[in-house]
Structure formats: structure tokens, C-alpha cells
Point group: C2
């Protein structure tokens, strides 16, 4: 690492930030990647940690080891709390140190999104989301625990509430969790209880819209809908969740008693817009220029879920593909500027397609005019998801785990591990 080279600070080690860091591997710059967790998570498979199929280590890699051979790059575990664009510094809490100031020459904000309750923060305690490994482990513990509680529950109504699972939001995550819980109850857990019948688990998928997987074509939504019904998932559409509390949810005038509610209905961007004091869209995402920089701050790039950019009149979606392509573009753009080369043409997102899995043996796929649902789409889904894992060892490990779970029906990570102060 040379000290005279410009310093590129990247905030966030998700798909966008990590791709940007890797894109700067051979650039004549020093890179510092700051993330509040020590690992990069492959978020599309978080639901499989939540449903006991995969271990956290199978979908996550230490950011340090992903970048250890990239000698111009260092990594810091820290929580960014602000940006001072005037003095060109980011403010970080790291370890026991509060308010560390870190200089930058170029800044890439890839700080992602978290789930939001649209003003109903009181729902949070009863309807967690699924964004981190900690979320996934907590949900795993909770799902396994309600089956345990149901097994010793004499009261039929309470038992029913324990075995009712409500997913709010019928996007890919909601559909994937709902179908995974339905499959788990009907396969892995089927023989393991003596008083309850796990296959009687009642899985409800709720959405205010008119169809599940609304980002796909209507035909594929219908196919997903049929599959969900086959799996025994009750899909409730066109209805808003009024209340989430300890007892369950209220949909319109109807109360559904459920001890498990998972929130996948909305995401809110990180506070990057507030840090910069710049223009944001309605959701709070930073409005960026076609070169992914912030207006009046050509040295600050904002990418991924926390950025807002239109293409052909439509906002780009908050998906991994966009974040990765933007990360690559930002890295290349900085490389060219540092090297004194002409600027890149404006960023354009190339949509490779869209995939969502619905239980075992079934996925929907939409790509380059092709629409596919069923087993073949599921094979493509499995192949692509394995291919995009960050390390070859994870690809191998997940492939083996999936094969084994597919054949045996067993789930390797069916563990309740609560972290209590005293045990």
C-alpha cells in the first residue's frame, strides 16, 4: 500500500460495496472498506438459514478473507454514523472508539436498506424482518420453538396460534419463507412430534397488492399462486395489515391468531441521504447522477439499495444485480479518473432477469423474454444461486448440503440457540 495514492473509502460490504472493492484491485489507489459486520452475506439465501437448511457460515464469508490478497485494500469493522463532505471525512464508531474520523479522496456509499414498518414501528417487536444472519438465526430459533410449545399445549386455540405463520409481503422473500416453512412442516418435522401433527401448520401469505411476485409477469404470478396453494399456503391478497401484536395480525376486520409473523413488506434505505443532506426520493434514497455520483459531490458515489436512479423512465429495482453492476461501474469510473482517462458513458443497468423459488422443485424465471415456471426453473435457480456464492468452498458446501437435505428431508441446522445473559 502506497501512502501517496488516493484513498477510496467504501461503506458497506454487501453486493455493491464488495464488487466496488474488487473492481479497484489493480487501481493505483488505496482502498478502505468499512462494514458494521465482519462478513459479506449472500442475502438471497438468508431464508434457508431461517428454515434450518444452511449454516450461517455457508452463505457468509469474512470480508477480510475475501480481500486478504488484495494488498491495496484494508478492512475496518465499524458503524458509520455520518459523512462530512466538506472536510472529506466519514465518522465511524469502531470497537470502543466513538466518532473516529476517516479521511477519503473518493467515497462509495453502499449502505443498503433495512426493513420498514411504514410508520408502525410498534410492529417490529412482533414481526421481525430478514436482513442479517442475526435476523435469520432468531427466526430459526423462533420457528423451531413454536413447534416445541405447540407439542405441550393442551388448549386447541393456543396450539393453533402457535402453528400459524403469517408472512407479510408476497415478494420473493415472503414467498420463499412461506413455502420453506410449509415444506419444512411437511417433511423434516413430520415424524418428530407425538402430540401435534406438524403438517397441520397453517402458513398465511398476506399482501396488499393483487398478486404474489408482482415484479414478475402475471402468468408467472399465477403459476406461483397455484404452487403456493398446492403447498398448503393460504394467500391473502388485496388486504392490508392493520395491526401486528402479541396475538397475531388484524387484516381488515379479521384477526388471525399467530405466534409467528415475518415482515418482508417494505424496505427503507440507510441514512446516507441524511448524512449528505442531499436530494432523496420519496422512499428516502439518494437521487444520483447518471454517473452514480451525488449532485455537487463528484467524489461521492452512492450505489445499490440506498441509491435512486431512473432508467428509461423507471426507477432501478433494489436487487443485487443493480448493486453489483453499479459497484463495478463506480470502481471503473474512479480508476479512470485517477489514471487521467476520459469519463465513462452514463451507467446503464443490464437486467439479466428475475428468479424466485417456491418450495422444493419449483421456481419462476423471467429473463430476456423467456418465462419459465416449474422444475427446470428451479434447477436454474439452484445453479445460479450456487454460482453467485462468494467462495468456491461455499459453492461446494451448499451443493452438498442441498443434495443431502433434498434426499433425506433432514435439516442440519435445526438448532434453538438463544443467547441469554445467564444460562
Amino acid at each position: 500500500m502506497t501512502t501517496q495514492a488516493p484513498l477510496v473509502v467504501i461503506i458497506g460490504g454487501g453486493f455493491g460495496g464488495l464488487t466496488a472493492a474488487k473492481g479497484l484491485k489493480r487501481a493505483p489507489v488505496n482502498v478502505l472498506l468499512i462494514d458494521r459486520s465482519n462478513h459479506h452475506v449472500f442475502q438471497p439465501l438468508l431464508y434457508q438459514v431461517a428454515t434450518s437448511v444452511l449454516a450461517p457460515g455457508q452463505i457468509a464469508s469474512p470480508i477480510r478473507s475475501l480481500l486478504s490478497l488484495q494488498i491495496n485494500t484494508s478492512v475496518m469493522l465499524g458503524n458509520v454514523t455520518g459523512v462530512d463532505a466538506t472536510s472529506k471525512q466519514v465518522i465511524v464508531d469502531a470497537g470502543d472508539k466513538v466518532g473516529l474520523k476517516v479521511d477519503y479522496d473518493y467515497l462509495i456509499l453502499a449502505t443498503g436498506a433495512k426493513h420498514t414498518y411504514f410508520g408502525h414501528d410498534e410492529f417490529a417487536a412482533f414481526a421481525p424482518g430478514l436482513k442479517s444472519l442475526a435476523d435469520a438465526e432468531s427466526l430459526r430459533n423462533h420457528i423451531l420453538e413454536v413447534f416445541e410449545k405447540a407439542e405441550i399445549e393442551d388448549d386447541a386455540e393456543r396450539r393453533r396460534a402457535l402453528l400459524t405463520f403469517v408472512m407479510v409481503g408476497a415478494g420473493p422473500t415472503g414467498v420463499e419463507i412461506a413455502s420453506a416453512i410449509a415444506v419444512m412442516a411437511r417433511t423434516s418435522l413430520r415424524r418428530d412430534f407425538r402430540c401435534i401433527d406438524p403438517t397441520s401448520a397453517h402458513v398465511v401469505l398476506v399482501d396488499a397488492g393483487s398478486r404474489p411476485l408482482a415484479t414478475f409477469s402475471e402468468k408467472l404470478s399465477e403459476a406461483a399462486m397455484r404452487r403456493l396453494t398446492t403447498l398448503g399456503v393460504e394467500v391473502r391478497l388485496g388486504v392490508a395489515v392493520q395491526v401486528v401484536d402479541e396475538e397475531g395480525v388484524v387484516l381488515g376486520n379479521e384477526r388471525i391468531r399467530a405466534k409467528t409473523v415475518v415482515w418482508t413488506a417494505g424496505v427503507a434505505p440507510s441514512p446516507a441521504g441524511k448524512w449528505l443532506g442531499t436530494v432523496v426520493d420519496r422512499a428516502g434514497r439518494v437521487r444520483i447522477e447518471p454517473d452514480l455520483t451525488v449532485p455537487e459531490h463528484p467524489d461521492i458515489f452512492v450505489i445499490g439499495d440506498t441509491a435512486s436512479l431512473d432508467q428509461d423512465g423507471h426507477p432501478l429495482p433494489g436487487v443485487a444485480q443493480v448493486a453489483m453492476q453499479q459497484g463495478k461501474y463506480a470502481a471503473k469510473s474512479i480508476f479512470r479518473r485517477v489514471a487521467g482517462q476520459s469519463p465513462l458513458p452514463p451507467f446503464r443497468y443490464f437486467d439479466k432477469g428475475n428468479l424466485a423459488v417456491v418450495g422444493r422443485n419449483f421456481a419462476v424465471l423471467q429473463s430476456a423474454g423467456v418465462e419459465l415456471s416449474g422444475f427446470m426453473a428451479w434447477l436454474v435457480w439452484a445453479f445460479i444461486h450456487i454460482q453467485f456464492l462468494a467462495e468456491a468452498s461455499l459453492r461446494f458446501s451448499v451443493f452438498l448440503q442441498w443434495s443431502w437435505t433434498y434426499i433425506s428431508g433432514k435439516r442440519a441446522e435445526r438448532l434453538i440457540i438463544w443467547h441469554r445473559a445467564n444460562d
Copy 2:
């Protein structure tokens, strides 16, 4: 499950309880196994979860799935708080239900041991032990985090404290963790930091006795001692820990500043003796009869770490082998009584030998007059530990993981996952 058959209640799904349950597979009884966790843990490999090699799911199996095909057996997730030997009931907190009463005809208490601080409970906050998966995950998070904190620490003394690891107790667990941390710092972490040199980590192993691995022969202790020194572990013998606090430990008059202290120095039995109001030994373990039952309670068996039984004038050690052989004996004994057969001869422990691992490529082994240290003993150690995992799938999975970590030096589970209320 027939309702007229006698009900055998087993408390604890560790080595003893699980072996007892399996031993009753074909007995004309109903079996209920109660444990406060949903999984059986292979404790000898907990230190590998703490040092990021193995995932929790690789050394643990859901008790329910281990016993799912055993149709006379059911499983309850619950915390036993007492035994009423007069009315033949155990008292259980399970789920939201407090003080559930569960009838038994035969009772097997296999409730194990936890770590103890010999009256210094104030040490607990600074020197956790390693008995559960939650302990192992917390320690893993902590160890990874001190390296992260050291990387951003400018003060040399504080950096040194962050990179100092003190293990209290030089039994197998203390030796295994100390050497595993030393190996991890010198292999997996070596290239991943830019400011600190992980290989400078200072690992200290403290024991009040005169040698490490005191249950082995003196020759093997010496071999282990040499190996520890080669690995860079500082072994401090004949010295008691006076103080453990936020700053580290005090040994005699010397303070060692260390942000990581692990306590493996002592275990205390479960409260089984108090529940029964019966005679206990000095450590608090229930004094049992040669047929493993409690004096005056021929229908209550106490086995494993929470039981105290002498053989040839020496107390049986608190090891997995004893618990498993006792579990098997208790099951067989109940089987014979229910079947109206003559009682078994008194229990005799058959000591198959003793093994401990010291880092990579080195273990000590003592069995049937044979003493061995080095690479061959390590192969035996690895073979035996894989063989004793509860499921074939785990054996395969651990074998692959070990092979991969051995070859690549990488650790698959190098994840810091803190479970906070709000993130």
C-alpha cells in the same frame, strides 16, 4: 406408545441421557426425554465452534430427530426445576408453562455439570466457560472481535491486551482452546490484517497444578508441554488466579492485561442432589449405589457428571465414556426390572482411554497401557471424534470441513453475529 406401560422419564439429552433413551428402544416402556435445549451437543468439539472451524450444526443434532423413529419415546423441551420423589413427579418449566408436573415410574437424572468459579461468581462476566453452543458462539464472536479492535488500536499497551488470551485451567479443554487460538492466529488470520500481526497474539495457559493434562501420565504431560511451547503458548503452572476483571487476570502478584479470559478450571454438578435431598459428595454430586440408583429410591437413577460413584477406591471421572456406559446400564437395568428378570451385577466402568489434542497434527493418547503422542495420536483422535458424532451425515460433514481447513487454513465459520435487541 401404549398407555399401560411404565413411564421412564429421562432428564438431560447429553451423552448419558441420550444413551439411556436409545437403550430403552425395545423395552416395554414409554420414554420421555426432557432437555432444556432442543439438541444433543458433542461437547468435545465445542472448542472448534469457538475457534470458527465448525458450524454449530456440525456438532449438534436435534434430540427429536435422533429419537424420531423410536416410537415409544417422546421429547419435551423444558427446564426441570425439581423432583418430588414422594408423588413420583418432576417439575418442569416448558414454553410459557411454569411448574408443569410430569409423572414417572422410573426416573433417570442425567443433568450434567456446568462450570463453577469456586465462589468467585464475579469472574463469570469476564471469564466465560464453554459448555453449550451459545457459549461457543459467544466466544467465537469475542475472539474475532478482539482482533478487529486491535487492528484499529493505536495504543500499544491496549493493543497488547486485546491480543492476549488467557485460558484458566490446563485440562483438555483449556489446552485445546489455547492451542486452537494459537494455530488460528498463525494460519487463518495471518494475512488478513494490515496494521497488526495476528501471529503476535499472546496465548497464556494457567493452572494451579504442576502440569498440563494432569489426568494423563507425566510423560504425556511433558510432551504436551513441549508442543504448547512450540505453538507459542505460555504455560504458567503452580499459580492460582486471584482476580479476573475487565482488565485481565491477576496471578499471584502479577497482573496480565487480557481482553479474553476463558474459564475451564472447574465444573459443578447440576442441582440434582438438592432436588432429591440426598447425600452428595464434596463437589455436590449425588452419591449413588453400585446399581446407579439413589439410596432409598430404587426407581431413581443418577448418571454422568452429576453422579458420584467410586470404583476401586477412586471416584469415576466426569467424562463422556462414564456417562454413556452408565446410561446403557440404567436402561438395561430398567428393562430387566420391567421384564421381571434378575437384577444386573453392579456397574463397572471400562476405561477405554484418554485423548487430548494440542493444535494441528499433535495429540496425546493413553489407553490400555499404551502411551502415544504426536501425529499418529492426532490421527487416532480425529478418527475417534468423527466416529462418535451422533449422525452419519455429521461424520461426513466434519470430515470434509476438517480436510478443507487443514489444506486451506481457512475457517468457514469466521463470523461475528451478535444478537442485539435492535440493529
